[in-house]
């Protein structure tokens, strides 16, 4: 249906002119030092070479608009940068260009307690937001682990450990301010909780990974801080029992705030890395309950009866804030624990997500692939919503290991798609999952490409990402 997207690397002259112009306008907020450009060329995933030519630090919507407009006219790529925690190569400057770093746009613009919402600039991080609104008794729940910026989380449609209760960014954004490639500043959505007026532009920009425009402000839903938060850990002898516990809990409608699975290898790594005491290297569920005292007690009772049926251990509770933080930090550090567990190795993580009725089959099939490969792999997942990651480690100098690692990842992705799921539940596409998009969506990719062309005719917004060029 639609022809290929094209982008040609800008000429050296065009780049030099752009850099000069930006330096003139932004002074020391337009930086060309190697160190800063290198820092802005990658996220936390595998490092991909490809540096921007200049990094600019705008402070207002109007500044972002003027940079984008200038670049669009000069056909120079524009890549937005939040905190650099993405995993799929979203930030790599494939064709050089201008990186717009949002870290100077960090104001919480308004908080509306009765409406349970707030408006923030894109550079606000989720921890900063929660600190600033603490006095209101409200909080913003989405927690992808990293202290990411709200703009970055919106652009990649992030989710995290408590998506099972609070949804993903998709469910928690009421509206946006977006700078479009031609330098216009548009507002999408309203402060009303629902709207059926016009197309849902908000959700189109959410998850578009900077390829349609730059998100500069976000209207977010907030939630009341629960009266009581209780975290608990339960261990199992067998992985399938842990998985089936989750499936049963979800089917019974127990409103878990978080329910995370760690397999025995991952647990071993976490015990060693985060110095967790009193746990065995066994399949483990980390759980969190939110609600009033009575309600939390009731949820825990229900959960205990399920884990009991599946041979789970007694619970270890963490009710105090410090204990909970330690527990969840251990969970969030799982990736680094995995790296420390296998010194000298490199790793990447798969991101499968399947309907929960297929979760047990999918994890078992993934585990079988892992065992067959002979590689050290760790399984960890937000299993309440069917999402899990296999961290595959390999020796970067051993070609055979690298090939086996790629094969395992490919097999696991394929299994998830076959089961009606997706091979990226939350990390996004960037440059690493472009083929997966084609495999999953076929003809719909044509429509996406047509939309990309319609909204960014010169293909200057993060070119080469998210939508396959052809």
């Amino acid at each position: 249906m639609s022809s290929a997207l094209v982008f040609e690397r800008p000429t050296e002259h065009a780049v030099a002119t752009t850099v000069d112009a930006l330096k003139k306008s932004y002074g020391d907020r337009a930086v060309t030092t190697h160190a800063i450009r290198e820092q802005h060329s990658h996220g936390e995933g595998m490092q991909d070479a490809g540096m921007p030519d200049v990094v600019v630090f705008p402070e207002t919507n109007e500044e972002v608009a003027s940079i984008v407009k200038f670049c669009n006219q000069a056909r120079i790529p524009v890549i937005a940068f939040g905190t650099g925690t993405s995993l799929e190569g979203h930030l790599k400057a494939l064709y050089g260009g201008v990186c717009i770093d949002m870290s100077r746009m960090t104001k919480v613009l308004e908080t509306n307690i009765e409406d349970l919402d707030c408006r923030v600039q894109a550079g606000v991080t989720r921890e900063q937001l929660n600190t600033e609104i603490r006095h209101t008794g409200l909080f913003f729940p989405i927690d992808p682990g990293a202290n990411a910026s709200i703009g970055g989380m919106s652009a990649t449609r992030a989710s995290g450990t408590n998506a099972v209760r609070y949804g993903t960014m998709r469910d928690n954004i009421l509206g946006l301010t977006v700078v479009t490639p031609d330098g216009r500043i548009i507002k999408t959505g309203t402060r009303a909780r629902k709207s059926s007026a016009g197309y849902d532009l908000t959700r189109l920009y959410v998850g578009s990974e900077g390829t349609l425009g730059i998100i500069t402000e976000i209207q977010l839903k907030l939630y009341g801080v629960p009266e009581r938060i209780s975290a608990a850990v339960c261990q199992f002898d067998e992985l399938p029992n842990a998985v089936n516990t989750v499936i049963t809990a979800m089917q019974m409608g127990i409103p878990m705030a978080r329910i995370e699975l760690l397999d025995s290898v991952q647990m071993d790594a976490c015990i060693k890395y985060s110095k967790l005491e009193g746990f065995a290297a066994k399949p483990t569920l980390f759980m969190e309950f939110h609600g009033t005292d009575a309600y939390v007690a009731e949820q825990i009772e229900q959960m205990k009866s399920i884990t009991g049926d599946f041979g789970g251990s007694d619970y270890r509770f963490a009710d105090k804030q410090e204990d909970r933080t330690k527990l969840w930090k251990a969970r969030h550090d799982a990736y680094w624990a995995g790296m420390a567990y296998t010194p000298g190795k490199q790793a990447f993580a798969t991101d499968s997500c399947v309907p929960i009725s297929r979760l047990a089959d999918c994890i078992a099939a993934a585990k079988a692939e892992v065992d067959k490969s002979g590689l050290v792999c760790m399984i960890v997942g937000h299993v309440g919503d069917g999402n899990f990651h296999v961290q595959i480690t390999f020796d970067p100098n051993d070609k055979d290991e690298r090939a086996r690692a790629d094969r395992v990842a490919e097999r696991i992705a394929h299994i998830a798609i076959e089961m009606g799921g997706t091979c990226t539940g939350e990390h996004g596409i960037g440059i690493h999952k472009l083929d997966a998009l084609k495999a999953e969506h076929g003809e719909a990719v044509d429509v996406m490409r047509t939309i990309k062309k319609a909204l960014d005719p010169n293909n200057v917004m993060n070119p080469g990402k998210t939508i396959p060029m052809r």
């Binding site: 307690i113 009765e114 409406d115 989710s159 998709r170 469910d171 216009r184 500043i185 548009i186 507002k187 999408t188 309203t190 402060r191 009303a192 909780r193 629902k194 709207s195 059926s196 007026a197 016009g198 197309y199 532009l201 959700r203 189109l204 998850g207 939630y223 009341g224 801080v225 979800m250 089917q251 019974m252 009033t292 009575a294 309600y295 009731e298 997500c353 399947v354 309907p355 929960i356 009725s357 919503d385 069917g386 998830a416 009606g420 799921g421 997706t422 091979c423 539940g425 939350e426 998009l437 999953e440 969506h441 003809e443 719909a444 990719v445 429509v447 047509t450 939309i451 909204l455 998210t466």
Partner: protein, 485 residues
């Protein structure tokens, strides 16, 4: 020459009885729930499967004939109103529930399945489909997707967009695409979100995978009386600000309760200027806890009386009044006009006051009965179309309410859609910049602008005529060559 060949081609791909051409067969399709606008289509097609839909679309595309999708025809904004040059595509013959996965809490259904039929079919597994528009007994899931429908319980359980996982869609050129996924998230641009609420302008939905919700063990309603509409409005904000998200939070003013009480005898306090119905659902412990907290908040907010439903029968009775508010209003007024503006909750007292003022200004009664928790207003403007000038006054009154909603940061339609009814107000809510983005999206899906022409998204032209937008400012109109639909 062209017209007969369209019919011939359609007749080749559809069973004869599923192609309606005679005027008496077209008459039932002349309007939807917004019955003041009527027209007969060129023909009506009733395809039985996705393949037939794709064929119909391919043929219409080749003939450059526009297509208007229709579910049960319960829409309130004229989204399914025909046009003499269009083919109406009804999904009435696609009513199969394809499969139910109780473990994953989801079901795959055809677009013509009724909203309530889904809940009935999955009830045996202890599940239900949460969005519950008042028309749920009749309206179809395909129509719900087109309008992003809500209902009484969407405050807690979300709108259609939050309860649909995957769609199969036939595009105008006959291509079939799958949007969304059975998993938590799907790759790439969120085209499913664009499709939901697009009012039949982007494609024809042929299959919907819905999310199912476990039925709560218990539900109880607290009914609170207030001495003024304003204090009731403020109490809504207080409940939410206390961190309580009730299963439903509805408000009715005195005009509405009086109308209803004579009709269904729901047991409402007729001395109150306004009542709030606040439902709590979940396990018995959770409900007891929440009802106690809600009662405290309501009392502190100035409730003069609070009643708690003691059993299922009483709960149903409290709700029956709310659910019958529209027909009850029909009993006391020859005609009424239902609005759908939605505002940030804390603006409720101000907007309700303003509506009262406008009611005096236009000399028309207005009942307020609405989804207070969402800030979704449904003012029912009562008038008599047989009295010269009353219809016009009602429309002006309505338009002024909608403009007020936008002014306080809200939207002209929370759940009924734009259709033809609110197309002018779209020019108030969106600037040319945003409308241009919408036209670009329309163009990407439907370059010849054949799907549901003239609805939902106004042309910049139209807005210029409506006089609310300054298109020129010395510059040429942007995208002047874009399609006009």
């Amino acid at each position: 020459m062209k017209a007969p060949s369209l019919f011939e081609e359609l007749a080749n791909v559809l069973p004869r009885e599923n192609l309606k051409i005679a005027e008496e067969d077209l008459r039932p399709y002349e309007c939807d729930g917004l019955s003041m606008y009527r027209a007969l289509p060129k023909c009506v097609v009733l395809p039985e499967d996705e393949k037939q839909i794709a064929e119909v679309m391919r043929i219409c595309h080749a003939h450059r004939v526009s297509v208007i999708a229709r579910g049960a025809g319960t829409g309130l904004s004229g989204g399914a109103m025909p046009d003499p040059n269009s083919v109406v595509l009804s999904t009435a013959k696609m009513m199969k529930i394809i499969d139910i996965d109780p473990l994953a809490c989801m079901a795959r259904v055809q677009p013509g399945v009724r909203n309530l039929a889904i809940s009935e079919a999955v009830s045996q597994y202890g599940l239900y489909y949460a969005p519950d528009p008042s028309s749920q007994i009749a309206c179809t899931i395909g129509g719900n997707v087109a309008e992003n429908s809500g209902g009484v319980h969407c405050l807690k359980y979300g709108l259609t967009i939050h309860n649909v996982k995957k769609l199969r869609v036939v595009l105008m050129n006959g291509e079939i695409v799958t949007l969304g996924s059975d998993g938590l998230d799907s790759l790439g641009y969120d085209l499913m979100a664009l499709m939901i609420g697009s009012e039949g302008l982007l494609g024809i939905v042929t299959e919907v995978t819905v999310k199912l919700t476990p039925k709560p063990k218990l539900a109880q309603v607290a009914m609170a009386s207030f001495a003024s509409v304003e204090t009731a409005g403020a109490a809504v904000g207080e409940i939410i600000a206390a961190g309580i998200i009730p299963g439903g939070l509805e408000m009715m003013d005195k005009i509405a309760t009086e109308a209803v009480e004579g009709f269904v005898h729901a047991g409402y306090d007729l001395n109150a200027a306004a009542i709030l119905l606040c439902e709590s659902d979940g396990t018995p412990e959770e409900v007891a806890d929440e009802i106690a907290r809600v009662s405290d908040v309501l009392r502190n907010a100035g409730a003069t009386d609070i009643k708690i439903s003691e059993n299922e029968e009483q709960r149903a009775r409290y709700w029956s009044g709310r659910k019958n508010a529209f027909p009850a209003t029909g009993r006391i007024s020859p005609d009424y006009y239902c609005m759908d503006g939605t505002i940030p909750r804390r603006e409720l007292p101000r907007v309700l006051n303003e509506i009262e003022r406008l009611s005096a200004k236009y000399n028309l009664r207005c009942a307020n009965v609405f989804h207070a928790g969402d800030g979704n207003l449904h003012p029912l403007i009562m008038f008599d179309a047989n009295v010269p000038g009353e219809l016009q006054r009602a429309e002006d009154f309505g338009a002024e309410i909608l403009e007020l909603c936008v002014e306080v940061g809200g939207t002209i339609t929370g759940e009924h859609g734009v259709g033809i009814e609110k197309i002018n107000q779209m020019c108030v809510q969106f600037s040319p910049k945003e409308l241009t983005r919408m036209h670009e999206i329309k163009h990407a899906f439907d370059e010849h602008a054949l799907l549901n022409p003239g609805k939902a998204v106004p042309t910049l032209h139209r807005c210029a005529e409506f006089g609310k937008m300054k298109v020129s400012q010395g510059k040429p109109m942007p995208f002047a060559d874009l399609e006009r639909f």
